[in-house]
Structure formats: C-alpha cells, structure tokens
Amino acid sequence: MKAVSVSSAAISNAMRYSQTRMQVDLVKAQKEMDSGRVADTGLALGARSAQAVNFHRDLDRLNALVDSNALVSARLKSTQDSLGQIVSVTQDLVNALTVAVAGDSPDSVTAKSGSTMLQSLTTILNSSMNGEYLFAGTNTDVRPVEDYLDPASPAKAAFDAAFYARFGFTKDDPAAADISAADIESFITDLVEPQFLGAGWEANWSNATDQTIVSRIALNETTPASVSANNEGLRKAAMAAVLAYEAFSGNLGEEAKSAVARRAQALAGEAIADLGQLQSQTGIIQNRVSEASTRINTQIDLFERHIIDLEGVDPYEAANRVNDLMAHIQTSFALTARIQQLSLLNYLT
C-alpha cells in the first residue's frame, strides 16, 4: 500500500491546466500590449462598462460639437465681415452726403453714390455661405432682399407710388422742383419711413425672418447665431441709400434735395451706430462660441483621461507580463518534457 499516491495521469496532466490558462493569459497580454487597452473591456469593467460606454459616447458628442461649432464660427465670421463691409459702404455714403449737403457736388455723383450703396448693400445682404443666406434669419433658402434698382422691384414701385400719392406727380416731373423742404420732410416721415422702419420692409424689401438661427454650442447651451436683414441698422442704411438715390436722380429743387440729404445723412449716421452695436453683439456671440469650443476641448481631454483610466493598461506592465508568461510557459514545456522522460521503464531491461 502507498501512503501518498500520485497517478501517472495526474503527473502527465499536471501542467496541462496551468499551461492552457497561461496561454490564454498570454494572448490577452499580447493584445493589451498592442492596443494599450484591456483585452476585453466588458470582462474587465463589468458593470462599469456602462460608464465607459457613456464616456465614449460623450466624447463623440463633444467632438461633434467642436465640428458644428466650427460651422457656427464660420457663419459668424462671415456675418461679421459682411457687417464691416456694410459699415464701410455706409460711411462712404455719409461722406458723399456731407459733400452734397454743402452743395459742392453734382447731383449725378450723389445719386450714383446712393445707387452704389444700394447695390453693395443688396449684394452683401444676399451673400451666402454653405448654401445658406447669411442675413435671412431662419428663412435661409430665400434671398433676403431684392435688387432695388431692378425695374420690377416692389420696393421701388412702392416708393414711386407713395411719391405719386403724396404729390400727384412723379419725382421726374418738372413740378417736382417746387416741392418745399417741409413737404418733402413730411413725405419722408409719413410715407417713406413706414416702408423701411415699419411693416413695408417685410412686405416689399425683405424675405428674412426676425427669428435668427439658433445653434447648440455646448452640451447645454444654445445661442442665436446669425443676424437678420430685418435689423434696424440695416433698414436705416437702406433707407439712407434710397433717399440719396431718389432725391438726387429726379427733378427736386435745391431746398428739398438738401433737406433729403440732411435726413439721409442723419439716418446713415444712426445706421452706422446701430451696425456698430450689431457688430459688437455678433462679436460677443463669436466669443461665446470659441469659448465653448475651448471648454469642450478641455472636457474632451478630461474624458479621454477618464477613458484611459478605465480601459487603459500600463504598456510596461503588459510587456513584463508577456515576458513572464513566456518564461513560465517555456519552463512548463521543459518540465513536461523532463517528466515524460522520467519513467521507471527506462531503467528496466
């Protein structure tokens, strides 16, 4: 009888179980060394996988936000540039009108500066980016303003109709020379102003909506991110330009013309002030967007670090593990081979 027994099957299988386990571990450790992440995140994290999944998804979302913020920034940048251009053409008009008020320039030059201003304004307000009209409010698939100088323009027709209704003749009529400054001023206040600063703007001039585009710039922050052509500064600029063009292209007398020029000059000045404010508002939004992007980028770094904390493995540790396991496996191979040789049969003749 034997006190301590060991069976031949147990001896030859002794290494088998640990051998397979080590090989499974080796495959895992190799994967971890290659990827720098745990081989099977689900198994390694268990219930915390939800956390990892959430981190990954939030990371994707934040990256998407950075991308969409770039779009918003581009739109705001174009808007800002356009506003700058509008201010500069309005300034040109103011200069031309200052000369006109002093009576030092021919009518055609003042009229020309009015029409140039109108053309520039129309072009700038109708500028588009990425298929969207910048100044259209939310109605970005429709041109915000029509060309006033187009004979078919409803705005032009409305102005002419108002003039005729007030005075009984057109501005090209010789009788127009007799219109007094007071008459023309009351005409401007009563009939022209509503066309620009009142309901007439949306009826004849603008297809834009007051409502501007709202964009999400951070996970829980939205901001209006465009400027509408219905902004008061833009209306005043357009009115100043129309007044300059119309007054100096007809047969108005000197007194009336200079009254209109003064009015237009004042309007253009107000427009520049309004536009300046608009520019600074847009700048504030631009700043918000870029700050949001910066913030998001910080968050992205943070999330990435969290994800590495959760899923990452130390590559040195993984490398050491691979080496250890390989050494172990080799030892166990060597042992197995030696054990197989270890048999009484070898010594029996």
Partner: protein, 478 residues
C-alpha cells in the same frame, strides 16, 4: 510427501503470481483512462500454503462526490459564460460597435450637425441614416436574441435526450452491479462504467447519490427529485421550433417535477441553459424593447392638447406612442416612411414636424433654418424617462444613458459568469486531479510491483525445477 507438497505450493505461487500480473497489466493498460480506478490484488491465505488473490478497487467516495459537484458547477457556469459571450457579440457586436447605444450616440451627433445646418437636406438624410442604423441595431438585436433562444431551446432538447440515454445506460449497468455483487463476481469494470456515467450525468444536472445494499445506487438531483431508483425516471421536454419576444419557453420535467430555472450561479448544463433562455435573454429583449420605446417617445411629435404621435420612429401601433413595456417592440420599430427619402418621404418633416397632420407642425413659418425642434429632439434624447422594472435596470434615465446601462448590465453578468466559470474550472480540474491521485494508476508503482512479481515467479519456477531435479535424482537412484 514433502517434496510433492513443495511442488504444489510452488504451483499455487505461480498461479497467484500470474493472477497478480494480470491485475498489474490491466492497471497499466488503463493508466491513462480517467474513469478507471486502480485494482489492488490482495493475497489472502486461507489454508497453510494456499493463497487466494482478491481483486479490490480503489475508491474515494468523498473525492468522487466533490468531483461530481465541481463538474456540475463548471459545466453550468461555462455554458452560461459562453452563452453570454455569444449574446454580447450577437447583440452588441465587437467593442459594442453594433449596439443600440452606439447607434443612438451617432444619431445624436447627426442630429447636432443637422441642427447647425437645418437647411441642408443632405445633412438631414444623415440623421435618417443614423436613425436607420439604430432601427437596424434594435431589429437585428431582437432577431439575434430570439434565434439565440431557439438555439438554446434545441440545446436543452439535446441535453434532455442525452440525459435520458445516460440514465438508461445507468439502469443496465446498475442492474449488472447489483446482480454481480449478489453472486460475488468481480464488478469492478461495471463500477468504473457507472462512475463514468455519473460524471456525465452530473455535467447536465447536479446530483446526489446514495448507496444501498448490494451496491445499488439511487440518484436524486440536489433539489431532491429522484432521477434513478431501480429504474430510470423520465426526463421530458417539448422543444419549441421558434421563439418570439414574450413567448415563454417550455419547462423541463424530471420525474414529472418541473426543473426551475436559476438566477446567479448555475449548476449543471441544464440549469445554465434554462437561465440563458428564460432569464438573461428575456431581460435583454425587454431592455431592447424599452430602448425602442424610449426612441419612439423621444422623437414623438407633440402638440398639446393633442396626444403625442409617433414621429421619426414608428411601430405597429402608430400613431400612438407606447406608454409602457411592449413585448417585441424592438423588433417592430421602423423608420417612419414619411421621413425617409428612400421611401419617398421628406427629411424636412424632422425639422418642421407635422408628419401627423398640420396640427403638429412646429416650424409654422416654414423657414429653412428653423433649428428649435431639432435642438429640442437632441434634448429629449437626454431627458430622463421611466423604464419598466422588468427590464432589470430600474433607474429612471434618459434613453441614451439607458442604452449604455443595458451594456453595463450584460457585461456585469458576463464578468460574473466568466470569473465564476474560471473558478469552477479550476475546482473541477483540481478535484479531478485529486481523485486521479487517489484512485488512479501510477505506472512506476505498477512496474516495481511487476519486478517483485517477476522475482517471485522466477523463484517459484526455480523451486519447481529444483524439486523436479530432486525427484529425478531420487528416481534414478531407485
């Protein structure tokens, strides 16, 4: 007379030596058979000079029982862990790439981009694409789960068939053992066979054994249901050819007692399979259904006081929005054709609302860059809603977080099952080793015995020839 008595003693020594050699040879032949128990040839003297060889079988009941229960636990847990691995791959894909959570994340991102450029229908189409991916993930997840259940069901049927066969074999072997023990013949081989059968039975169902007179064995499950007592008790099961969400699986009966499915650790293949079919996969289906409900709800069109109506995501009960867990909703959910450009729909409905009639239009001005509704939809994906507790995750969460929790739930189950399977495997390997050490054959030991026997045989043979010579000398002298 003493010479002839010496001769007969030598003869009987030769006989007993050859008997012992026979046992040694048998041991060596079966050295690598894990179900073989070492035979011990014991020489008993019953009369002066007369020796009888009695063959005994090495037994360690304690270790054997441990090995049986370790086998049950291991086979149950390994079935569970491999089943969960399969489910995870089939439903969530490698690195969760095909999971509903990933699809919802992509949908969210597409929605964000669309909200920034609402006038671009191409960007809108990417939202529809992302939504289609979410639908595909839920639909194929449902299919995978139900196919998995059907597959598990057929595995249960196979397992039950094997169990019945094993019990029938057990019956005949047990009968042979009882008969052999009564008549006093050597039943070692039959005992080996019975132990091997028991190990196989224990892989399917955890068992307890009782030995009665004449080596008669009774098997009950650990729950106390008789599986074998003189005759094999029937194990019955009616497999279902296909599964649909919400359909309950057929019960397995042992001796007409239903086998209850377990939760947590499973002991025995049958328990593991039942847990996968009736527990894990049913809960997962409920989770997918709840995710589908969450999506339908989040994208529903609202226009109080009118009832909410299904928007981008729709189902068989549309335009109603499901208010509670609907079995198989994840299989029914689809993209509303009114939104899908591929089906002649209009992407802009997503931005404007109004798929359910003019009352639901949010963008009343019809303007192209109206982003409010799109932003609100994105917010709704993040707003908490109440999910059904039957789906295993009770916390009120947003559909986005819920879909991530569903992954966490599965991975948690998988982690536990895998860790436990590893432990049980080690236990099974260790107990098998211990059992083999206690009852297995050591060839070196047998060979050294063989040397002894050889010497005994040689000595006896020499005695015989010496006595022969002595007798010859005597005869010559006469």
């Amino acid at each position: 007379m003493s010479l002839s008595s010496a001769l007969s003693i030598a003869q009987s020594a030769l006989l007993s030596t050859s008997r012992q050699t026979n046992v040694v040879t048998r041991n060596v032949a079966d050295a690598s058979n894990p179900d073989y128990s070492r035979r011990i040839a014991q020489v008993v003297s019953n009369a002066p000079g007369a020796r009888m060889v009695v063959v005994q079988r090495a037994v360690d009941q304690q270790l054997f029982r441990q090995n049986l229960s370790a086998l049950s636990a291991w086979s149950g847990q390994s079935i569970l862990s491999s089943g969960l691995d399969r489910l995870q791959l089939a439903v969530n894909g490698v690195d969760n790439a095909g999971s509903a959570s990933t699809a919802i994340g992509k949908l969210h991102n597409a929605l964000q981009l669309y909200a920034t450029t609402p006038s671009n229908p191409n960007v809108g189409a990417t939202v529809i694409d992302a939504a289609r991916q979410a639908v595909r993930s839920l639909n194929s997840g449902t299919e995978a789960i139900q196919a998995f259940r059907a597959d598990i069901d057929s595995q249960i049927a196979t397992s039950v068939g094997e169990l019945n066969q094993l019990l029938a074999q057990f019956e005949s072997v047990n009968k042979a053992i009882v008969a052999g023990t009564r008549t006093g013949t050597d039943v070692s081989d039959a005992l080996d066979k019975r132990d091997a059968l028991l190990k196989k039975i224990a892989e399917h169902v955890p068992v307890t054994t009782h030995l009665r007179a004449d080596n008669d064995m009774v098997i009950t499950t650990t729950g106390g249901v008789t599986m074998f007592e003189t005759v094999a008790r029937p194990v019955s099961f009616t497999p279902s050819p296909a599964y649909a969400p919400g359909m309950a699986g057929a019960t397995v009966y042992i001796d007409n007692v239903p086998v209850a499915g377990s939760s947590g650790e499973a002991s025995g293949k049958l328990a593991g399979l039942l847990q996968l079919r009736d527990g894990t996969s049913v809960t997962m289906q409920a989770q997918l259904d709840e995710i589908a409900r969450g999506l339908i709800g989040a994208f529903a069109e609202t226009a109080p006081p009118l009832p909410d109506a299904a928007g981008l995501f729709t189902w068989s009960g549309a335009p109603d929005v499901p208010g509670t867990l609907v079995n198989g909703l994840a299989g029914q959910i689809s993209i509303n054709a009114a939104f899908d450009p591929d089906q002649g729909g209009n992407v802009n409905l997503l931005r404007d609302g109004g798929a359910n009639g003019a009352a639901y239009v949010a963008n009343t001005g019809g303007t192209a860059s109206f982003a409010d509704r799109l932003i609100a939809l994105g917010d709704r994906l993040d707003q908490p809603m109440t999910f059904h507790p039957a789906a295993g995750i009770t916390a009120a969460a947003s559909v986005t977080a819920y879909s991530a929790n569903a992954i966490g739930w599965l991975e948690n189950a998988r982690q536990q099952a895998t860790t436990s399977a590893d432990t049980k495997e080690a236990l099974a390997a260790r107990t098998a080793e211990a059992l083999s050490n206690a009852t297995g054959v050591n060839i070196d030991m047998e060979m050294s015995l063989m040397l002894d026997l050889e010497h005994t045989y040689q000595a006896s043979a020499r005695l015989l020839s010496t006595v022969d010579e002595m007798l010859k000398t005597l005869l010559n002298a006469v």
